[in-house]
Amino acid sequence: MKASLERLAERAGAEGLIDVAFANVDSPFGPLLIAATRRGLVRVNLPTYDPSETLEELAARVSPRILESPAKLDQARRELDLYFAGKLTAFDLPIDWQLTAGFSGRVQRAINRIPYGQTRSYTEMARSAGNERAVRAAGTACGSNPIPIVVPCHRVLRSGGGLGGYGGGLPMKEELLRLEGVLDQTSR
């Protein structure tokens, strides 16, 4: 049965019948589900959230033509593996931003430009997105980032240096910052 399903995913992909391809990826934090459209990576689901709910959300918001197709996510899986091993400092993956819009979308694009090993404050992100006073909205935008890890919302902290929040839980945020070598310089 497994071979039949793999063949199906391959043929469906070749015929352009997959609108959203997804794969499960192991990470030091637990299983991640990653999903891509023809345009690029559209969603990363952290282990704290139910992957089946995320797939339902993708069915409603992108397309129900969703198939598990790890081959279509080879590059993303490889880059994530290298990142978790501390051997990759910049993802080189096309991103599909269709799940973001408006002010949140601008914040998330700004987050995507924060370099590896650096941090920014929520206030700075609000300013980058064009409204310095919308700090709370910037926080919300970080929290609703559909592509965490790759779009590094873990690099956004409170102005005083406090960790702020993280969808994957604060221990994960701390661990990612430690991996990037920045946590030690950050007071909590």
Partner: protein, 154 residues
């Protein structure tokens, strides 16, 4: 109206059953092709489907059509027949107790007749058309198949 679930869930929930029905209908070797055709056809039509109420029945209906196409294409004597009626969606198939596994083990003619009758719900005349034999021969294959299953399952 129910929202369409991710297509992957249809595979997770129904792929094994669809494969089982197809093995019964066309045999183990050709079931693979019919399986691929069934799900590719389903994927093509899926975004335009406006009723997510009975996805299992929808998939089985497509599978039945593919099985019938297969028999028509491979029939020994392709007989021109009037358009074969739309097959109704089937709500429940008694695939418990390994019945379909037994069906799978029947000689090809009997297996196909039993599957077309009970999985695809076709009348004798259409089974005959699908298998490219006379209605009497179809009836006989079906009867022999059922007799054998009764004995094995008794």
């Amino acid at each position: 109206m129910t929202a369409l679930p991710p297509f992957q869930r249809l595979l997770d929930e129904h792929a094994a059953e669809v494969m089982g029905v197809l093995r019964g209908a066309v045999g183990r070797v050709d079931a693979e092709d019919c399986f691929q055709e069934t799900f590719l056809a389903a994927l093509r039509a899926y975004p335009r489907l406006d009723d997510a109420g009975n996805l299992r029945g929808w998939l089985l209906t497509i599978a039945h059509r593919k099985a019938i196409d297969h028999h028509r294409a491979h029939g020994r004597r392709p007989t021109p027949v009037a358009e074969i009626a739309e097959v109704a969606a089937i709500d429940s198939l008694p695939d418990e107790n390994g019945v379909w596994e037994r069906v799978d083990a029947l000689p090809p003619k009997q297996r196909a007749a039993v599957a077309l009758r009970y999985a695809c719900d076709l009348p004798h005349a259409e089974i005959a058309a699908a298998l490219g034999c006379s209605p009497e021969a179809a009836r006989r294959s079906l009867h022999e198949g059922i007799k054998r299953l009764r004995k094995e399952l008794a």
